[in-house]
Symmetry: C2
DNA sequence: TCGATTTCGCTACTAGAAGTATCGATACCT
DNA sequence: AGGTATCGATACTTCTAGTAGCGAAATCGA
């Protein structure tokens, strides 16, 4: 019988600290900002040793991506038609990016990735691709068009956050939804 | 007679190295990436001492912003009507961000600014505001709408650059122009 | 209970980069 | 020539990512 974990390996089992570390990461980023959210500080906030973090995630960037993956979770692609699906997806992303720490962490790792091909690879394949594929399926749109939508929506939201320090207000999110929907029609 | 420089102060005058430093900054960012474009390296590429850079710009972020200000220059807001003005402005920004080093430098300083209020202030007032005001004037649109346009255009272009490592291709820039123009109409 | 195995916490360490301090040398004006 | 301010060079402090090593703790099997 090949179970998910066929036979637990010998030795001390890993402590289930992922959830605690993710929470500590987001709250630390929210409190002191991405630049000052050092791994030392995150470990202290989580109540574990820094070395334990590096045993699980190979770099700070990978930790942030894992944290974002956990925070975003699967995309809720619901709606009666394509327009409703896309509109609800945009509002969902906007709300997530507005949550404490998430937008700042996203912008931070995104910036780190600009000149770090390895991190860019992680970000693209682990974070973006699942949503891209789900959207291609749900909207019946080709890859390049879905990528364009993602660039517009996420880029706009992050630019607003980066320039003002505050998430985009609802009225502007409405305008963003309307603008993208007009392209979809 | 109050001239621009009424009387030159005594002592050794500053060497005119700004242009050399800006060129060295962009080429260094283009060669080794924003993260590895250290002030030491930029100074070496410019053939001057690192201390001289810090005598002129208070921080690396300020240096990058000054470099971008120099690289972008005044916005060429030309066109027979509002649509032509906006379309040409978008294509101009897209071309600039695609130039070697400029996009990467922009993305880098932008990311640094997310959690650095002082740098965000510099970026917002020195780099964004002049273009925003010129666009408000040229398009006859209110501030919040012009800010929305800027978020969409710059955010989209930077997100594409950050995710793929390459500037946006012409076909997608065309789509971006068309999408924004539909909002303007 | 004992041993094997693996993870954990802790301390110390290296490497790299931002930014500062100091000082002799240099360029310009009067 | 003298006064003044900048330049180049070196050294330094501080902070952070990431690594190394070691004793302690947890779990399983015998």
């Amino acid at each position: 019988m090949a179970r998910a974990t066929p036979t637990r390996p010998p030795g001390r089992p890993r402590a289930g600290v992922d959830a605690v570390v993710f929470a500590a990461t987001l709250s630390t980023v929210d409190e002191v900002g991405y630049a000052h959210a050092t791994v030392d500080r995150i470990a202290a906030a989580a109540g574990i040793a820094k070395t334990t973090i590096y045993r699980r995630w190979p770099s700070k960037g990978a930790l942030i991506v894992a944290c974002l993956l956990d925070a975003f979770g699967p995309a809720p692609l619901k709606g009666a038609d394509r327009e409703e699906v896309l509109a609800s997806a945009i509002r969902w992303v906007a709300a997530k990016i507005g949550e404490p720490g998430i937008g700042a962490a996203f912008a931070g790792v995104f910036t780190d990735a600009v000149n770090d091909p390895a991190l860019r690879q992680i970000l693209s394949t682990q974070l973006q691709d699942p949503y891209r594929l789900a959207l291609e399926e749900a909207l019946g749109e080709p890859e390049n068009r879905v990528l364009f939508f993602i660039d517009v929506v996420v880029g706009t939201l992050l630019h607003r956050l980066g320039m003002t320090g505050e998430p985009m207000v609802d009225a502007d999110v409405d305008a963003l939804v309307e603008m993208v929907l007009r392209v979809l029609r």
